[in-house]
């Protein structure tokens, strides 16, 4: 088990759990990153942050700090 921050580009992972609380957590879940969802890490921005992922068939960008809240395996 790891979190999304440390998932290498090109890897596909499954969401285990979302940590944290409040608006950011809810937004992450509202965007479809829920338990069991598959995430493909597409790329990292030119300056190293944020990351771009594919989830539920569309592209989403999130900061590494927020990606850290997403437990995956």
């Amino acid at each position: 088990m790891s979190n999304l921050r440390h998932t290498p580009v090109g890897a596909t992972v499954t969401v285990r759990k979302i940590e944290g609380e409040g608006a950011t957590r809810r937004r992450i879940m509202d965007m479809g990153i829920t338990r069991g969802a598959e995430i493909y890490v597409r790329k990292v921005a030119p300056l190293g942050d944020p990351v771009e992922i594919t989830v539920r068939g569309y592209e989403l960008s999130l900061r590494k700090a927020d990606a850290e809240m997403i437990q995956v395996d």
Partner: protein
């Protein structure tokens, strides 16, 4: 009887296109009460009885974002007769997530399955009939971009509204459903049956806004809490996650049943994205696009149109379609050459001992007296020595800078005296400017040109409003580009690329665009901040973007650099450094204040697929932004310019209140004298510099012109005020001059920009806060520059001022490094903004 329909859907699902297609020109654009979220309403093109309200583009109905709260409050409180839910079929899973929530609101729903053309092109198949059956609501296929299916959608919505049947209740799985049903029973007497389900689910999620809506007894609250905790324990998760998971699981099954996806390789959008946000190419491509936007909208086309608006429409006039403009320019150049020859000969004549003073005096007089000039010229020509005088005229080629010389004798001089200044109206199709037309109108009405009515209209309103409206063409060009960037999907990538840098200063990646534009003009820069969704980031961007030296501040920089620093380019460069540093410092300081803390706006951002922007959307967006500036900002600017006109033009002269001939006697001069002592610390506590700074509020370049008036320079000063450098140097020291310049660059921007700030903040308190902050910051910085700089150069000795400056430095350092204030709750920021009005 009219029918009220709501249009709801995710951002980027084609909702704007759909709304434009449905309502055409009947749109009304305003704001939702008390918040900065845009509200659009319009009548359906095909049936004026149908009123459509466009809800903000949202992903969910959570209590955390302003847009979502606005949307759900509207649905719960205003109860539209039906919801048209726009679903992007090419991104169906996430789009249906909002649908599952809308279905619970007790309002008839019709689903518009949009972008079906993309789905078909991809080779995917969606079983629309089955989807409609499973969801229990009508589903209409649409392609908003082509205007297909929109009529059918409204017809279906009208039918649903008339029938008034809310969608059938969809059960959650096992224990969740039991708990929600129990909660429904508990709140049965405080809710309407149709909305009961919605409130029960929200109470299960512990939605604070819904909890606050009801005054439930302690026992009921406890019962609800017990129900929730039981489910949470059983499923080992929190209630919010449980509901979200359940919705997405349901959608997962639904999509599996109704959608057949064809496995395909990279789509066109993927291929574009692969290049555009590539780790190596992304930044160069970004720089190129930004340069292009800046170059066209600020430097070239924007500049041309701004000149046209300022010098043409609000100036002398212009050549229609530039017909005759080239001929006129040629004639003007010829005339200028003749003047050069004339002056060269006169100079030589003067050296030869001929008295030319009578003629030069007449030539330089403000009102030319033709006969006096002719007489004076004849007198010179009659001088016996004149025949042998030969002058040397120098001509510099504008492009190559090459200087050619030409001998001028008496005959040439005589010829130059007959040359008449060309009248632009003689060439091509000449359209006179508004001031010229008004002048004629007043003349024909017999209005006294020395009277106050004439002065108010010409010097006050036309000059002031003209200065502002002159920016409109440039703004429209800029908005055109912004609309394209937004519509094609690149704007989201701008944020993606630049986020890392800007969030360090509490700004958003999208703040880059306003800052860039700000180096041209602050007005469109502030307006460009509209593209930033997060309210906090947007406000911060608005507060700092005017620190970038705009085009109108350049004359101020040129004047001080020229008068005090030998025209050094380092001064101009330092002005930009000062601007950028101010943005960084302000960003870091401000983000630690309580009003800017709160849960940092989540940067969980969709990167929509690229697509070709539609002309309709681009032009509509351009026009909406442009016209809203003209309307809202116009009123502020009009009042302010009239105030400035009055206080600068009127005062006490000879013991009576009247229009003053000397600016020293104006009301503003008195106001300046009263305020001036405040500016002792930053080193410009004279009433003259105070008045100059205040006049900069109309337009920053006015600072230079006002100095011209204050030093009683006859005629108009050059753009950099070179004629008054001597007087300036007598009034300021180098350090004082730099401090004054810094103050003018950083303090409140011109009225036009303040109008734009008011428009974008849409809130009096925030507008005042933003402008107040800029003024205070400018004061602090200029004080530090003057006091510490003066100490270093030895102009000042250690004193009270030094102590204050050191205290200011300490304050800035403290604000930069202190711990950020803690917000009351995760939604503190949002709540504040809702309550603000």
């Amino acid at each position: 009887m009219s029918i009220r329909l709501a249009l709801a859907g995710n951002p980027n699902c084609g909702k704007t296109t759909m709304f434009n297609d449905l309502t055409g020109a009947t749109q009304y654009v305003g704001n939702w009460p008390g918040v900065t979220v845009e509200k659009k309403e319009g009548k359906f093109k095909g049936d004026k009885e149908v009123l459509i309200t466009d809800l903000p583009g949202i992903y969910s109905l959570s209590p955390y974002t302003l847009e979502e709260v606005v949307a759900r409050d509207y649905l719960v409180n205003e109860k539209p007769q039906a919801i048209m839910n726009l679903v992007d079929a090419s991104n169906i899973e996430r789009n249906l997530y909002l649908t599952t929530q809308l279905l619970e609101m007790g309002i008839p729903v019709v689903i518009a399955l949009n972008m079906m053309d993309i789905v078909k092109k991809r080779g995917d198949v969606i079983d629309v009939k089955k989807l409609s059956q499973e969801l229990g609501v009508p589903v209409v296929e649409t392609a908003a971009i082509k205007g297909e299916g929109t009529r059918e959608l409204v017809e279906a919505a009208k039918k649903a509204a008339k029938a008034g049947n809310a969608p059938a209740k969809r059960a959650f799985e096992g224990t969740i459903e039991n708990a929600v049903t129990e909660i429904e029973k508990l709140i049965a007497d405080v809710t309407e049956p149709a909305q009961r389900r919605w409130f029960a689910v929200k109470l299960f999620e512990r939605d604070s806004k819904v909890q606050a809506r009801f005054t439930l007894g302690k026992d009921v609250q406890d019962k609800i809490e017990k129900l929730i905790t039981a489910v949470e324990e059983e499923l080992d998760d929190d209630a919010e996650s449980i509901i979200t998971d359940a919705r997405y699981q349901y959608i997962g099954k639904l999509v599996k049943d109704c959608v057949k996806k064809k496995k395909t390789g990279l789509s066109t959008s993927d291929k574009i994205d692969h290049i555009v946000t590539n780790r190596i190419l992304a930044l160069p491509i970004f720089a190129l696009i930004m340069w292009l936007v800046y170059y066209v909208s600020v430097s070239t086309a924007g500049g041309i149109f701004t000149d046209w608006a300022n010098d043409g429409v609000f100036g002398e006039g212009w050549h229609l379609f530039t017909i005759g403009a080239a001929d006129y320019e040629e004639a003007t150049a010829e005339y200028d050459d003749q003047i050069t020859r004339r002056d060269a000969w006169l100079e030589a004549a003067d050296e030869a001992g001929i008295d030319t003073s009578a003629l030069t005096e007449q030539l330089e007089a403000e009102e030319a007296d033709e006969t006096a000039i002719a007489d004076a010229a004849a007198a010179i020509e009659a001088d016996p020595a004149a025949a042998s005088v030969v002058g040397t005229a120098e001509f510099e080629d504008e492009d190559s800078g090459e200087v050619t010389t030409e001998d001028v004798n008496l005959a040439t001089f005589e010829e130059t005296m007959t040359a008449a200044e060309p009248d632009p109206a003689d060439f091509g199709v000449w359209v006179p400017g508004i001031p010229v037309l008004l002048e004629k109108l007043f003349h024909s009405m017999g209005v006294n040109e020395d009277g106050w009515v004439y002065s108010l209209v010409m010097d006050g309103i036309v000059a002031g409003v003209g200065a502002v409206l002159g920016f409109v063409p440039q703004m429209l060009i800029l908005f055109f580009f912004l609309a394209i960037l937004e519509d094609c999907g690149y704007m989201a990538r701008v944020a993606f690329i630049m986020d890392r840098i800007f969030r360090k200063f509490g700004l958003s990646g999208k703040s880059f665009i306003p800052m860039l534009i700000g180096s041209g003009c602050g007005v469109p820069a502030v307006m460009a901040s509209r593209t930033i969704e997060q309210e906090r980031d947007r406000r911060m961007t608005i507060m700092t973007t005017c620190f970038v030296p705009c085009g109108a501040k350049l004359p101020i920089i040129a004047m001080f650099a020229g008068a005090f620093f030998g025209g050094s380019g380092t001064i101009a460069f330092s002005a930009y450094v000062l601007g950028v540093l101010s943005i960084i410092i302000s960003g870091i300081m401000l983000k630690k204040f309580k009003i800017f803390t709160g849960d940092p706006a989540p940067f969980v951002m969709e990167l929509p697929s690229y697509h070709v922007p539609t002309a309709g959307n681009v032009f509509r967006s351009m026009w909406e932004r442009g016209s809203s500036f003209i309307k809202k900002a116009g009123t502020v600017i009009l009042l302010s310019t009239i105030f400035m006109w009055f206080t600068l033009g009127y005062g006490w002269e000879g013991g009576a209140f009247c229009a003053v001939s000397d600016i020293d006697n104006s009301i503003m001069a008195r106001i300046g004298s009263v305020i001036a002592p405040i500016f002792t610390l930053p080193g410009f506590g004279t009433w003259k510099s105070t008045v100059a700074a205040i006049s900069g509020l109309v337009a920053k370049e006015n600072v230079v012109a006002t100095f011209g008036q204050l030093y009683h320079f006859v005629g108009e000063v050059a753009e950099d005020g070179s004629e008054i450098w001597g007087e300036l140097a007598a009034d300021f020291t180098q350090v004082g001059a730099y401090a004054f310049m810094a103050f003018n660059l950083l303090c409140a921007p011109c009225f036009a920009a303040m109008g734009a700030i008011k428009r974008e903040m849409n809130n009096g308190k925030w507008t005042a806060l933003a402008i107040g902050y800029m003024c205070v910051y400018a004061y602090v910085v200029s004080t530090i520059i003057y006091q510490i700089g003066g100490l270093i150069t030895g102009e000042l000795t250690f004193g009270v001022g030094t102590v204050v400056a050191i205290a200011f430095i300490a304050l800035i350092i403290f604000l930069l490094f202190r711990k950020p204030a803690k917000a009351d709750s995760t939604e503190g920021l949002r709540r504040m903004s809702v309550d603000a009005n």
